[in-house]
Amino acid sequence: MIKLKNIYKTYDGKPVFENFSLDIPLNKTYCIMGESGIGKTTLLNLIMGLSRPDKGSVEGVPPKISALFQEDRLCEPFSPVSNVRAVTGKSVPQAQIISLLADLGLEGNENIPVLNLSGGMRRRVAIARALLAQFDLLVLDEPFKGLDDATRERVAAVILTYCKNKTLIVSTHNIRDVALLNAVQINL
């Protein structure tokens, strides 16, 4: 179980968490809900160990973490396949990468530099990269940003197939995502 105990955290001088505690049992899907600026990304960063609490502790985080960040953080001059390879190396077969990209609706764009792709396409490349990295915990920060409803459903289905028996934590402000991912809702 991931345990956040008595967390205090300020961001840009503003207190985001004051004596905040949360238990997250493993191997389930969670949607962290809350309006913009409430601290969803800060919470995800604390769980991933990318930022440290001013006070309090984060325990029980699985060692293998994969993530989709708030920004895509892609290697711009490289293709979607190369972006996945940057993370996986040769441990994942080329066919599997291409198949996943196709499942995410990116067929025909596998070898185009990502800087030439649209915002929604780039988001899906970042999702593919996160799904093909080895993980026990997958953290997705606003995964459906810039995606239309049909693509959102398609992408959600793919994410769920890769997260069976693993812990998935998604931040969103869209209540429909909870049902789409069959997730436990956590309100901030």
Binding site: A67, F69, G89
Partner: protein, 236 residues
């Protein structure tokens, strides 16, 4: 170009030929030089030495910049050396180098010393400008060093590296020839410049200057093209 030539011609009519050769005299001298077998050996002699110094500076500059980019203490330790190399006048280096090396090899050391801080500083600047969020992503995914180099650092530093290489080669070339001019090793471009000046062969002096500019321009373009091709190959 035509305007510059016209201006050169006008100026040359106002100044005695002994002090300022005309474009026509320079062209004649240039053709005569190009017809001599020793001309190519002379250019080759100088080019090889300056390229060797530049290449050594490039390799060491890249390695040191990577080290300094990775370890702050290395940057701090290297800082006084780089500042010193950048600040000391070429003439001082040349004078010291003559104590240690034969005049034929001084240009290797001088071009090395001129290029090293430029390659190092530019590359380090590029490494420091690398997006911290991309590095955070690499840390999270535990991307190994060589893949970080290829996918994150190279795209970030390539602009800095290309401009650094261009500036560094220009400086290395100029300083290398200045070193030859002071030490005038036999069969070097600097040595030929010195002889032309000694015997007041102004047209030859101008012709050699034109050659220096042309060789520098062509070599710099070739180095940039080669580096761009290597970067493109790595990014494929």
């Amino acid at each position: 170009m035509l305007i510059a030539l016209a201006l050169w011609q006008i100026i040359s009519t106002c100044i005695p030929n002994l002090l300022f050769a005309s474009p026509w005299q320079t062209a004649k001298s240039l053709v005569s030089l190009l017809g001599q077998g020793s001309f190519y050996a002379t250019v080759w002699f100088t080019l090889c030495r300056i390229l060797l110094g530049f290449f050594l500076a490039f390799v060491l500059g890249v390695l040191l910049a990577l080290l300094a980019g990775r370890f702050y203490v290395a940057e701090q330790l290297l800082w006084p050396y780089m500042v010193t190399v950048k600040s000391v006048p070429v003439a001082s280096f040349v004078a010291i180098a003559f104590l240690w090396l034969s005049s034929a090899n001084v240009s290797v050391l001088i071009s090395f010393l001129m290029a090293l801080p430029i390659v190092y500083t530019n590359l380090l600047q590029g490494i420091k400008a690398t997006d911290k969020k991309m590095l955070q992503m690499a840390d999270l995914f535990k991307i190994p060093f060589l893949r970080r180099l290829r996918y994150i650092w190279l795209p970030s530093v390539k602009g800095y590296l290309l401009s650094g290489v261009s500036i560094a080669f220009g400086l290395a070339w100029k300083a290398g020839i200045a070193a030859e001019l002071i030490g005038y090793p036999k069969g070097s471009v600097g040595g030929e410049l010195y002889s032309a000046k000694q015997f007041l062969e102004t047209a030859d002096l101008f012709a050699w200057t034109v050659i220096i500019v042309l060789v520098s321009f062509i070599t710099e373009k070739l180095i940039s093209l080669l580096l761009k091709a290597v970067i493109k190959g790595v990014e494929k």
